[in-house]
Structures are given as structure tokens and as C-alpha cells.
């Protein structure tokens, strides 16, 4: 039933929506830009429906196998560039995540992004007092970007060719830049957008280098080594046959991973992600929680057989993932900005996924990506809802919202529990499988790396539970502390008006709350359930890898004792949060902050990474070193070369112009002499 055309439609629908909004509505019908929202929702909705059908047919029924030949994009001699769809369980899973979350976020945005004047009680706020950018034009621009972003992400996950993948990879980066800097009139937003673009660019550079290296190593006639499936199926054999050295393979894998580090905000390129929270909140929900940042994890997953073939690369992936999981969690402990807490938790969770990939638990990592998308999007939408009411993101100026915003509270609670990994919510199942796999391969396999990351991960579980409930208590419990009217740094979204958000914002949160509760159990039950096979999702994913790779995979399983331990750790984190942040705390956060002041400052300043990059790399090495050297080269070598060319052009041109005197006799003479010279050389030259 689902055919190739329909699968292409998944990608093209949001792209058409982008074209409609950006090229027709925004230039010509900007007065009626309100329709941009519904249009975008409609197109992405259709895309979502097809994605679900594709998912069912490919992953559940297994009836769909692809499909058509790739389209030739460019043929130069023996070199061929193709564009096609790679439809494996990983792709279908990503399609559902991207379109599903995008649909919810865009429904939410239709209201959230409207002119603030129109829904904040017009009696005390005329829309003419708003800055011009907050008016209607913004609406069409926003949905144009969102549609383009969704299309790019879909193109990325569907790509069958490395070059195709890279094009969309960069497009995703561009959209992220545009959306983070959406409120470009705010310096902080403009700076954050720039930072995101440049930091991820460092990673992209690694990716690109690896691509070129791969291509130069494997460029052979009739074998298309730009095709992802060809790479995955043949590279390991190339290594065993000696065509490609093991070192080269590791380099390629690490290069890809560097790209993934940048995109997924892994240590040490994590610095852009918290700043990216300057973008509109639905943007954070879509791209910094559910989709774009998962592109890095997706990339490692996409080339998983390549990574598996290199033990060193796998070790790096596992360690970076494990370190990130813990490292980001520690910074989340002290942040006062609700979105930044969520941002750190995202980085931390992405670390879990990476570490799962690193220890060989491919299906489990993607499973966690899947569940995480739903509850993290839910949490971000919740933070947007809170901001809608209070006008601030600073939790120090919130409080007491539980009674005013019951639905937001409950959904946020569900999201937090799911993220903390409390039984039986979605996050529990996926996180537990990661921990279990790390533990098993650590204790039974005796792999020291696995054991290390297991320890890192279990500490992070405690912290995750703690900071989520710290955020929950600071936001929803106690007394209201003033909102944006008290917060000197807030950019008022509107006046404070405590109350539940409008229906169109609440609805997506309610819908997302459902998968946040059940999706883990439904998709990957530990035992057979209502016709669903045990560990169905992980099993399907794992068995989509080339057969030769299966022996390297970690199995899917469930262990009650380990689940109990991790739950206990999470619960104690929650307990500590309650003790510290309930209205009359047992332990005062201030006193702890004072006792551990150096630690607190270190965490609060994000381990001084921003200062390190800005001060050392940018100011010292770049400005004083590279920039100076480039400047010298530019002035003395490039400019000189240009001047020589200019001089040659001017003089040589003058010489030739002697002949170009307008006289035909001269022209005929030049032609004749030319013929004689050519004939002489041609005939007697050899």
C-alpha cells in the first residue's frame, strides 16, 4: 500500500509547505499570514500519517521492502551521484519521531507564536506597543522555517547516499541557525545562533574530512562507495581483505563521530546547546530535544556496521557518551533557567544513547531515542506553557503554578517521571536496557570501558531525577514569586497572567503525555504482550543490520534486580529534591550552595568551557595566531598574486589591443598569421 512515491511524499509535503509559505504567503499575502500555521500543520499531518503507515508496514508487518532505483543526480564519467531512499527500521523509526513531534509542536506553535497582543487581553496591551518583529510577519517566517527544517530532517534520515545525507545535514544546521536566531533583534539570540552554527561546524568539518577520506580510499570503478548500504555492507570486508587498513577505518569512523558530537551536543562540543534555548520554545522542543540533536545519534546508527568494525571507534563513542551523560547532568543541577535544565538533560540523554551505541547496543540506543523524543518534547512544551503564563524562564521567579495550571503540571510531572526513569513510564524501559547492557558487558564481558560508562550512567540517573524534581518543585510548588515583572532579564512574552494555557497549546501536551507513559512498554515489552513480541522494537532494529554483524550485538533482555537498583537510585534523587525544594526544606539549598561554593560556581559557570573556548581558542590561538597568519598570507601572497594578474591583464590587454584597432585589414592579417603559425606547428611540430 505504501509505495515509493508515498515515501517521497513524506519528505516533499513539508517542503511544499515551506515553498507555499515562504514564496507565496509571505511575500504576497502577509496580511493573512495566520493561515501559515494551519497550512504547515496540514502538510506535516499528512506526512505523519504516511510515516505511521510506513512504520507499520516496514517494522511491524515487514511487508514493505524498498523500492525503486535511486535517481541519478549527476554523472561525470565513471563518477555517479545518486539520490534515493534508504528505508530500514532506523529510518522508519526516525520518520515517526520527526513527523510526530513536529506535528505536535506545530499545532502548539499556531497559538504560541501568534501576535502576543491578540491573546494577552487586549484591554491592557495594544499590539502597537509590541516590537514590529512580534507582529504578523513573524508568523509566516516561523512556519516557513519550521517546514523547511522538518523537510531537511526527513531528507536526512531518508538519504541513501552519503552526499545526499551531508547536504541535508548542513540544511538542518542552517535551519537550526535560522530558528535559534529567530528573535534576531535580541543580541543574545543572534549570538546563540552564531555560536550554534560555528560550534557544529567544527563537527561538520570532521564529518566532511571523513567523507573525503572514505571516498579517496574506496573510489573504484563500478562500485559506488557513496551509497550508505554499500559502505555498511562492504567496508568491514575491505578491511579483512586488506584493501583498507584498520587505522583508516577507525579514522573514518571517528570523523563521522566528530560530526555527530557537534550535532548532538556531546562533550566537548556541547557548549552551543544550552545557549540555543534563546530560540522560541517550540523550536527548542522540536530541534533541540526531539529531532535535530538526535541527528548525531542517527548518524552513528546509520553507519553502525562501520563503527562496529573498529573497536577503537566504539570505545571512543562509549566514553564520550558516558562522560557527556554525567557531565551535562552535573550542570543541570544548578541551572535556574527551566529551559536550560531541559537542555542539559537533553545533552545528558543523548550521552546515554551514544554510550549505548558505543557498547554495541544499537537497537536499545535507538529505542531510547524514540521514547526520549516524546517525553522531552512534552517537557519543553510544558516549559513554554509556563513561560506563556509567567513571561519568564527563570525558575527563581516562578512557583505555585500547580493550582493555576493543573494540566501543565500533570503533564510536566509525567514527563519528569518518564525522564527520571520511574516504572512503568516510557523512559524507564529504554534507560534500563541501556544500563543493563552496559552492566552485562562490563561484568560478564569484563570490558572495562563498559563498566566505566555503567558507573557514569548510574550516577547520572540519580542526578537526572534530582534536577528534574528540583525544576518541578521550583516551578510548580510554593508561592508565586513574580514572574517576568520581577525578573530583570526576562523578555516579556506578555504580561503575567497566571492561568492554564489555551486549548491548542494544552492539546499537544496531553497527546504527548500518552506516549510518554506507555510507549516504552508498548514498543518494547519485556515479555509477550497482546500479540506484541517481547523486545520487539529492539529486535527489529538489531536484525536490520547486516548478518555478519549480529555476533557483535548486545542482546535484548530485562533484569529485575538491576531495574530495582536503578529505580531506587532515581527515587533517592527525587527524595533529595523534595527534601531540598519543598516549601519548608529539610535541607536548605542555600546552605549547601555555601558549603560547596567552589563546586557550585564551577557547575554554574559550566566548567568554564565558554571562557576556555572564547578566551583560549578564539582570542589566543585564533585572533593572535591563525588570524594574524592568514592576514599576512592574504596581504603578502594572495594580494600580490592578484596584483600580478591584474598587471598582466592590463599590460597584456594593452598589447593585444594594439591589434584590435578597428581595421579589418589588421583583423584579417592576424587571422592569417595565426593560421600559418598553427599550420607550421601542427604539421612540423612532431
Amino acid at each position: 500500500m505504501v509505495n515509493e512515491q508515498l515515501i517521497w511524499a513524506i519528505f516533499f509535503l513539508p517542503l511544499i509547505s515551506f515553498g507555499l509559505i515562504a514564496l507565496i504567503i509571505r511575500p504576497f499575502f502577509n496580511q493573512a499570514s495566520v493561515i501559515a500555521g494551519p497550512i504547515a500543520v496540514l502538510f506535516i499531518g499528512a506526512s505523519f500519517v504516511i510515516s505511521i503507515l510506513t512504520f507499520i508496514e516496514r517494522n511491524i508487518n515487514g511487508t514493505l521492502t524498498l523500492v525503486g532505483d535511486p535517481i541519478n543526480w549527476l554523472t561525470i564519467g565513471a563518477f555517479k551521484l545518486e539520490v534515493g531512499i534508504l528505508l530500514d527500521p532506523l529510518t522508519t523509526t526516525m520518520l515517526v519521531v520527526v513527523t510526530g513531534v513536529s506535528l505536535m509542536v506545530q499545532i502548539y506553535s499556531t497559538f504560541y507564536m501568534k501576535d502576543p497582543g491578540s491573546h494577552h487581553g487586549t484591554e491592557n496591551q495594544g499590539s502597537d506597543s509590541e516590537p514590529a518583529e512580534l507582529g504578523q510577519p513573524v508568523y509566516a517566517r516561523y512556519f516557513a522555517y519550521m517546514s523547511l527544517f522538518t523537510a531537511s530532517m526527513l531528507g536526512l534520515v531518508m538519504a541513501s547516499n552519503v552526499v545526499q545525507l551531508f547536504v541535508f545535514w548542513e540544511l538542518v544546521g542552517l535551519c537550526s541557525y535560522l530558528l535559534i536566531g529567530f528573535w534576531f533583534h535580541r543580541p543574545a539570540a543572534a549570538a546563540a545562533a552564531k555560536k550554534a552554527f560555528i560550534v557544529t561546524r567544527v563537527g561538520d568539518f570532521g564529518f566532511l574530512l571523513a567523507l573525503m577520506y572514505l571516498f579517496s580510499k574506496t573510489y573504484q570503478e563500478n562500485i559506488n562507495y557513496l551509497n550508505i548500504q554499500t559502505i555498511n555492507e562492504n567496508l568491514p570486508t575491505l578491511v579483512s581483505s586488506g584493501t583498507l587498513g584498520a587505522g583508516a577505518l577507525t579514522l573514518i569512523a571517528i570523523g563521522f563521530f566528530v560530526g555527530a558530537i557537534g550535532k548532538s551536543g556531546q562533550f566537548p562540543l556541547h557548549t552551543w546547546l544550552p545557549d540555543a534555548m534563546e530560540g522560541p520554545t517550540p523550536v527548542s522542543a522540536l530541534i533541540h530535544a526531539a529531532t535535530m540533536v538526535t541527528a548525531g545519534v542517527f548518524l552513528v546508527g546509520r553507519f553502525f556496521p562501520l563503527f562496529q568494525a573498529s573497536q577503537e571507534a566504539m570505545m571512543v563513542v562509549a566514553l564520550v557518551g558516558g562522560i557527556t551523560a554525567l557531565f551535562a547532568a552535573t550542570m543541570g543541577l544548578v541551572s535556574n533557567d527551566i529551559k536550560r535544565v531541559l537542555a542539559y538533560s537533553t545533552v545528558s540523554q543523548l550521552g546515554y544513547m551514544m554510550l549505548a551505541l558505543g557498547i554495541g547496543a544499537y537497537g536499545v540506543a535507538i529505542f531510547h531515542l524514540f521514547t526520549h523524543a516524546f517525553f522531552k518534547a512534552l517537557l519543553f512544551l510544558g516549559s513554554g506553557s509556563v513561560n506563556h503564563a509567567t513571561g519568564t524562564f527563570d525558575m527563581r521567579f516562578m512557583g505555585g503554578l500547580r493550582k493555576k495550571m493543573p494540566i501543565t503540571y500533570i503533564t510536566f510531572l509525567i514527563g519528569s517521571l518518564s525522564l527520571a526513569g520511574i516504572f512503568p513510564l516510557a523512559g524507564f524501559w529504554s534507560k534500563d536496557e541501556i544500563l543493563l547492557n552496559a552492566f552485562r558487558s562490563g561484568s560478564e564481558g569484563g570490558e572495562i570501558v563498559s563498566m566505566t560508562v555503567f558507573v557514569l550512567a548510574i550516577i547520572a540517573v540519580f542526578m537526572t531525577a534530582f534536577y528534574m524534581f528540583r525544576a518541578l518543585f521550583m516551578t510548580f510548588e510554593g508561592e508565586f514569586r513574580g514572574g517576568s515583572e520581577k525578573d530583570p532579564e526576562a523578555n516579556p512574552h506578555g504580561p503575567v497572567h497566571l492561568g492554564e494555557s489555551p486549548f491548542l497549546m494544552v492539546l499537544p501536551m496531553l497527546i504527548l503525555a500518552i506516549p510518554a507513559v506507555i510507549i516504552g512498554f508498548i514498543a518494547n515489552p519485556p515479555g509477550e504482550l497482546l500479540g506484541i513480541k517481547a523486545h520487539w522494537m529492539v529486535h527489529t532494529l538489531d536484525h536490520s543490520l547486516p548478518d555478519s554483524m549480529h555476533h557483535l550485538l548486545k542482546g535484548e533482555s530485562f533484569s529485575v534486580p538491576l531495574a530495582a537498583v536503578s529505580s531506587l537510585v532515581a527515587l533517592s534523587g527525587i527524595a533529595l529534591a523534595i527534601a531540598m525544594y519543598k516549601p519548608k526544606p529539610l535541607i536548605s539549598p542555600e546552605s549547601i550552595g555555601k558549603t560547596l561554593r567552589p563546586v557550585h560556581t564551577l557547575l554554574y559557570r559550566k566548567y568554564y568551557f565558554d571562557e576556555l573556548y572564547e578566551g583560549i581558542f578564539v582570542r589566543q590561538i585564533y585572533y593572535r595566531g591563525l588570524a594574524l597568519a592568514s592576514d599576512w598570507t592574504d596581504k603578502n601572497i594572495v594580494d600580490r598574486a592578484v596584483n600580478i594578474v591584474g598587471w598582466t591583464g592590463a599590460n597584456f590587454g594593452g598589447l593585444i589591443r594594439q591589434f584590435q584597432n578597428g581595421q579589418m585589414q589588421m583583423y584579417a592579417t592576424v587571422t592569417s598569421i595565426g593560421i600559418i603559425v598553427i599550420a607550421a606547428i601542427f604539421i612540423f611540430g612532431d
Binding site: 591583464g649 590587454g653 593585444i656 606547428i681
Partner: protein, 492 residues
């Protein structure tokens, strides 16, 4: 001559009828704005006839008129290209042609007659036919160049006529030598005669080849046969300049490929003309680019630019024997692809020049000052055309250059590819200068009150050509595929 022959030549007959029809209509209508519309609509007839020939699989490669005329995918490719270019030139002339007063009918008819000659040229398989077609192309062009009754235009016309006659004489002399040695004027028989009689190293034959190259070199304005181009390009009416620089050049490359691959092909005769092409290529691009830097008149600048572009195109003529693993046909395929891309790009540029000249009646580069503010669309089209001529993505010019230069690399002509790349960098100087003037300079005050418009025709021609430049820069495969089959039918 039988019905089959007429069927084969039907597109050429069709376009000649269109030309005659336009003249007849011209007698009866007083509103001359109708003429380009009539011409464009009736141009669909030769187009349909070409499509019919293309789709008629029975035709395949078929010769008619006793083997002097051949319809194959190669000829069809150029017929499409010439028809398309002619249509765009006519579209872009709608406003400009008013300068010709009561002679607009003749103007359109001459363009169409010249196009008929070019289409014929692409199909000729015999030296005399080839020569007739060439003259049918050139004579209307000379008249067209002199179409504005001003000193410069008349001078352009007479220069074109005389120098064209000189080059024809050279070409004829070359043909006579070849005929005298091989005893045949049919391209196929020339080839077999060279092989059978072992004429491959005969100095007389080589001299004949050089003379033929010179004759064709005039058409494509390759150095040192380019001297006419700047004066004629500057003096001729701008749409005519565009027509000469695109359609005429395409026809020239068509006949070069046809003659050299059919008669002097490497399999048949052991004649190494590739090196000659390589050297001419390097000289053409260098001379064209270096002189273009100094030009202040946009048409003169574009004249030198076409000389340089001819140099890039000749890279494809030089790249004929691939190293192991490469594609032997990449060079000629690259020529066809580049010609198609160059046609779109240059027509976009000329349409903008026409539009601006409609408004300002001025051809200096400075008349483009502040165009970005006055007409962002035209400025955008011009900017895209310029970066396509340089060879920067996302344009078809970039793809075409990649293709040609990689063909050069595959045939061991690394030095030529390097010369090409350096030349591309140099060319950026004068192409980007136009962009700079458009976007960074402010409009001149006195032009703001100009009453005349840019001309709907010229603007739409610019938009169409720009769209092609952009779209095929992103997805070039359709053109490449057609070019591939065309070259397969030529070389086999």
C-alpha cells in the same frame, strides 16, 4: 528527393515557413507588437516537428538527400538548443525591436532564417551542404548586425560580412584540399578514404584540417580567429549579439564535433588534432579573460567573455582519449552540456542587458549602478548569470565546468584543467565587477525619471533563462542524459 527526405528536413522547412509567415503578417498588421507573439507561437511548429523526429524510433540515425543530410540524436540535440535559444532571443527583443521602426518583420524573419541555417548545419554530412548551411547562417547575421541604422551598427555589419567572407574562403580552401586528397565530399567517405589510402600524415591533409579549423574557429570566436567579435558584438543590436554569442556558437561547435569526429576521428585516421585544440583552448581562455578585465562596455566585456567561454568549451574538444577507467566520451558530452548551460546563462545575461538598455539606452557597465535597488529581479538574474559564467554553484555553469575539467583530468590533460581553473579565478574579477556595481553602487540620479520600462519580454526571457541556470545547476542529469545519447549517436 522523396517524402522521407522532406520528413527528415521538416523542422528546417518549418522554421523557414515561420520566417516567411512573419514577413507576410508584417504586411497586414500595423501593431508590430503582434509579430514576436506570432513568431513565438508558430515556432511551436518546428519544435513539434523536431519532437516528432526525436520520438520516431524508426528514424534513429537516418540520412537523406543522398547521404548529405542526417537526422540523429546529435542533430536533434542542437535543433532543440537552437530553437530554444531563438525563442528566448525573440522574446527578449519585443521591446528592443521597436528601434527598428517599420522593419520589425524583417528583423524576426532574419533571425529565424539564420536559425534555419544553424539547424541545417547540425545535420549536414557533406562539405557542400555544410558550406551552404554555414552561409545561410552567416548572411542573415550580417544583416542583423547592421540593423540599427547607426554608424556603429553598420560598421559591425560590414565587418562581420567581410571577415565572415574571409573565414569562408579559408574554410573552402581547406575543404578543397581535403576533397582533392580524398576524392569525396561526404564526411563518412572522407574518413574511409583517409584510412584506406593512409593519408593520416599527409601534410596537405593536415593543412586542410588547419584551414577548416580556422574557418570554424571564426564561428566560435576562438583565438586567433576572434578579432571580429568585440567590434561586431558592441555595434550590433543587443539581441543580435546575444543570438550570435549563443546560437551561432552552438552551431559552430556542432559542426566541429560532426566533422572532426566523423571525418578525422581517431579510429579512422591517425591524426592528433586534440593537442591543437588544447593549445587553442588555453590561448582562447587566457586572452579572452585578460582583455575582458579592461572593458567598460558590457557588450564588449561579454564579447571577450564569449571568447574565454569558447576556450573552456574547447577543453572538451581536446579531451578525447581517456586514460584507463575514464569515459572516452566525457569530453564531447561535456561540450554539449556546457553549450546548453552556457546558452541559458548567456541568454539570461543578455536579456538583462537588453532590459537595462531598454530603460537607459546605455550599454556601459556603469548603467547597471544600483540595479539591485531598482529591479531586484533583474539584478538577481544578472548576478546568477555572472556566477554561472565564473563557475560557482548553484548554477549550471559550475556543473558544466566540473564536467569539462574532470574530463580533461581523465584524459591526462591536467595542465589544461589547471589553466582552466586559474582562468576561472581571473574571470571572477570582471564578472563580479558587474555584480558589485549592481549591488553596491547607488543608482544614478538622472535615470530615475526614465519613462520607458524594462520591457516585459526581456524580463520574462531573463527569468526563464535564470530559472534554467539555477535548476539545471542543482539537477543537471536530464541534460546530461540527452547529451549522452547525442554523443553516442555521433561516435557510436
Amino acid at each position: 528527393m522523396n517524402l522521407q527526405d522532406i520528413y527528415l528536413i521538416s523542422p528546417e522547412i518549418g522554421i523557414a515557413i515561420v520566417a516567411a509567415f512573419v514577413i507576410i503578417i508584417d504586411l497586414f498588421v500595423s501593431n508590430k507588437k503582434v509579430l514576436p507573439v506570432v513568431a513565438l507561437v508558430t515556432l511551436l511548429i518546428p519544435l513539434f516537428l523536431t519532437i516528432q523526429l526525436h520520438l520516431d524510433t524508426d528514424i534513429g540515425s537516418k540520412t537523406g538527400f543522398s547521404g548529405t543530410f542526417q537526422v540523429d540524436d546529435f542533430a536533434i540535440f542542437f535543433k532543440y538548443l537552437i530553437l530554444g535559444s531563438t525563442a528566448i532571443v525573440i522574446l527578449s527583443s519585443t521591446q528592443y525591436a521597436r528601434r527598428f521602426g517599420g522593419h520589425q518583420g524583417e528583423y524576426y524573419a532574419l533571425i529565424l532564417f539564420s536559425a534555419a541555417g544553424m539547424m541545417l548545419l547540425a545535420s549536414s554530412m557533406e562539405l557542400i551542404t555544410l558550406y551552404i548551411a554555414l552561409e545561410l547562417t552567416a548572411l542573415p547575421s550580417a544583416a542583423l548586425a547592421a540593423f540599427i541604422r547607426q554608424r556603429k551598427s553598420a560598421e559591425a555589419g560590414i565587418k562581420f560580412l567581410v571577415l565572415s567572407a574571409v573565414s569562408s574562403a579559408v574554410l573552402l580552401y581547406g575543404m578543397v584540399l581535403v576533397y582533392g586528397l580524398t576524392g569525396s565530399s561526404h564526411l563518412n567517405e572522407i574518413a574511409s578514404s583517409i584510412t584506406n589510402n593512409g593519408l593520416g600524415s599527409s601534410p596537405a591533409l593536415l593543412f586542410g584540417i588547419v584551414l577548416i579549423t580556422a574557418g570554424f574557429g571564426f564561428k566560435i570566436s576562438a583565438v586567433p580567429f576572434q578579432m571580429w567579435a568585440p567590434d561586431v558584438y558592441e555595434g550590433a543590436p543587443t539581441p543580435v549579439t546575444g543570438f550570435l554569442s549563443v546560437a551561432s556558437k552552438a552551431a559552430g561547435f556542432a559542426i566541429i564535433l560532426r566533422v572532426f569526429y566523423t571525418s578525422f576521428g581517431l579510429d579512422n585516421a591517425n591524426i592528433d588534432w586534440a593537442n591543437m585544440m588544447a593549445v587553442l583552448s588555453a590561448i582562447s581562455m587566457s586572452v579572452g579573460n585578460l582583455i575582458a578585465i579592461r572593458q567598460n562596455n558590457i557588450k564588449r566585456m561579454l564579447a571577450y567573455s564569449t571568447v574565454a567561454q569558447a576556450g573552456y568549451l574547447m577543453v572538451g574538444l581536446a579531451a578525447i582519449t581517456a586514460l584507463p577507467g575514464g569515459d572516452d566520451n566525457a569530453g564531447p558530452i561535456g561540450v554539449l552540456f556546457y553549450l546548453a548551460g552556457y546558452a541559458m546563462t548567456n541568454l539570461a545575461a543578455f536579456s538583462v542587458v537588453i532590459a537595462v538598455s531598454n530603460k537607459t539606452n546605455n550599454d556601459s557597465i556603469n548603467s547597471f549602478s544600483g540595479l539591485a535597488r531598482k529591479s531586484p529581479l533583474l539584478a538577481g538574474a544578472m548576478a546568477l548569470a555572472m556566477i554561472s559564467l565564473i563557475g560557482i554553484p548553484p548554477t549550471v555553469g559550475f556543473m558544466a565546468k566540473i564536467y569539462l575539467f574532470s574530463a580533461a583530468m581523465d584524459t591526462g590533460l591536467e595542465w589544461l584543467a589547471i589553466v582552466g581553473v586559474i582562468n576561472s579565478v581571473i574571470s571572477a574579477y570582471y564578472y563580479l565587477r558587474v555584480v558589485k556595481v549592481m549591488f553596491l553602487s547607488s543608482p544614478k540620479e538622472n535615470e530615475k525619471d526614465s519613462e520607458t520600462s524594462y520591457g516585459v519580454g526581456a524580463v520574462s526571457a531573463a527569468v526563464i533563462a535564470m530559472a534554467g541556470t539555477f535548476l539545471f545547476g542543482i539537477y543537471p542529469e536530464p541534460i546530461l542524459r540527452i547529451a549522452h545519447t547525442a554523443i553516442d549517436s555521433l561516435i557510436g
